[in-house]
């Protein structure tokens, strides 16, 4: 039986202009890696992102060790309070090699 380890996966949907801000936050709190995808859609803020490249969305996926989760969530919440449109949800995942994320 292969050993799996529980981790938290943070998913963030945001405008691509916020990419630098989010990546800066991950680096600041010592998150080891992240994945960013282009995304389109529509949500509570009432507008959809264009595919023209002028105003597109990104979908950020990042595994966060439980020990750092609260600090990073606090920082994300602070950004939302300031008015940044971020859609954030966390899910429980299992990873193969824990040392990649710790």
């Amino acid at each position: 039986m292969v050993q799996l380890y529980p981790e938290k996966l943070m998913n963030i949907i945001a405008n691509d202009s916020l990419e630098g801000k989010l990546v800066g936050m991950f680096k600041k709190y010592g998150v080891k890696g992240y994945t960013i995808l282009r995304a389109r859609g529509e949500g509570s803020s009432g507008f959809s992102a264009d595919s023209s490249g002028f105003d597109s969305n990104i979908f950020v996926k990042v595994i966060i060790p439980e020990s750092k989760l609260d600090t990073i969530l606090g920082s994300v919440e602070c950004k939302i309070r300031k008015g940044y449109h971020l859609t954030v949800y966390i899910s429980d995942v299992q990873v193969l090699s824990r040392e990649k994320f710790e």
Partner: protein, 340 residues
């Protein structure tokens, strides 16, 4: 107004883009096509302009830059005051919207060049430097207006200032440094780098080298512009759907503000810089157009409290189509009247 202006292929393709969207055609351009084409268009126009500018008068170039800065700093303030007076949007929305109107749209500028070419009207190359210069100052004014608006909102509510990236707050990351970062972003933004870089290359390249790339920068230019406006027609039509959300008064700002900016630009071009009818038309277009490439991401970062639907719908969905279809011939008429 000469209605034959509407029969320009570039304008007709823009209309086709709008129609394709309205009839819900399944036509989709590859992602980022408009962005790729706009890099080509800026590069071609930059090389061309730089080549011409190398032979131009330094003092006129300098005074064009100065007036571009003055326009870039003044127009957002006019827009802000007008918007605040309507009481339809918050001061922070007003700051974000007006920043778009002080900056410029290269797409509108290039359509104006296509229009002047089709009418065989010559123009100076100085407005091209003004295009590069005017991309950024309005972002700075937008940030200052937003900071002022935040202070007055906070003072009214008796709360400490929070929100936005351009204020110093005690929370997490280095917000204090962000104002400087935003300024750096404003002046090193992609369009500015492509345009100024290409102008320098055009100015210092040897004639023989320029001849070699002539097919790339001259012969296919208008065709690429058609394709760009085709795509932009679809993007604009998509924003047009948000028309109801912005309301009639705010939507009318998207038409009145370019006319005001166009008039101010035309006066600067004709009476101060002493340009020809063609050059004056281009300065009027600079005053009239609203940014949709450089300013929206800057405003999303710096004024997150502002509603992006407002500024994107106004600049892309209302002002851009208005300028492309109606505005440019109006500014030409204005230039003819002022230059006399």
């Amino acid at each position: 107004m000469n209605l034959s202006s509407l029969l320009l292929p570039a304008v007709l393709f823009f209309a086709l883009g709008v129609i394709a969207r309205l009839i819900k055609s399944d036509l989709r351009f590859p992602p980022d096509l408009a962005k790729i084409l706009s890099i080509y268009l800026l590069m071609a126009i930059g090389l061309h302009g730089g080549y011409e500018l190398a032979k131009a008068d330094f003092m006129i170039a300098l005074s064009s830059i100065m007036w571009a800065l003055i326009l870039g700093f003044t127009l957002p303030i006019i827009g802000y005051l007008a918007l605040v007076m309507t009481k339809k949007v918050s001061p922070l929305d007003a700051a974000a919207i007006s920043a778009h109107y002080g900056s410029v749209s290269a797409g509108t500028f290039l359509t104006a060049i296509a229009y002047l070419d089709s009418q065989q009207i010559t123009y100076e190359s100085y407005p091209l430097i003004m295009l590069a210069v005017m991309e950024s100052p309005a972002i700075v004014v937008g940030l200052i207006l937003a900071a002022k608006a935040r202070h007055s909102i906070a003072a009214k509510e008796g709360k400490p200032i929070s929100g936005g990236a351009a204020v110093i707050t005690a929370d997490d990351e280095n917000n204090g440094g962000n104002f400087g970062e935003l300024l750096k972003d404003a002046f090193t933004n992609g369009s500015v780098v492509v345009l100024i870089g290409s102008m320098i290359i055009g100015a210092i390249s040897l004639d023989s080298g320029m001849d070699k790339i002539k097919p790339f920068i001259d012969d296919i230019f208008m065709g690429v512009l058609c394709l760009f406006l085709f795509d932009m027609g679809m993007v604009a039509a998509r924003r047009l759907g948000d028309f109801r959300q912005v309301g009639l008064l705010l939507a009318s700002f998207g038409i009145v503000m370019p006319l005001v900016g166009g008039f101010v630009g035309a006066v600067v071009g004709a009476k101060i810089l002493d340009f020809s009818v063609g050059g004056t038309t281009l300065v009027a277009v600079l005053g009239a157009s609203a940014s949709y490439i450089a300013v929206p991401p800057a405003m999303r970062l710096a004024i997150p409290e502002a509603n992006p639907s407002f500024y994107l719908t106004l600049s892309l969905g209302i002002t851009f189509p208005f300028n492309v279809i109606v505005g440019i011939p109006v500014y030409l008429g204005l230039a003819e009247w002022l230059v006399g």
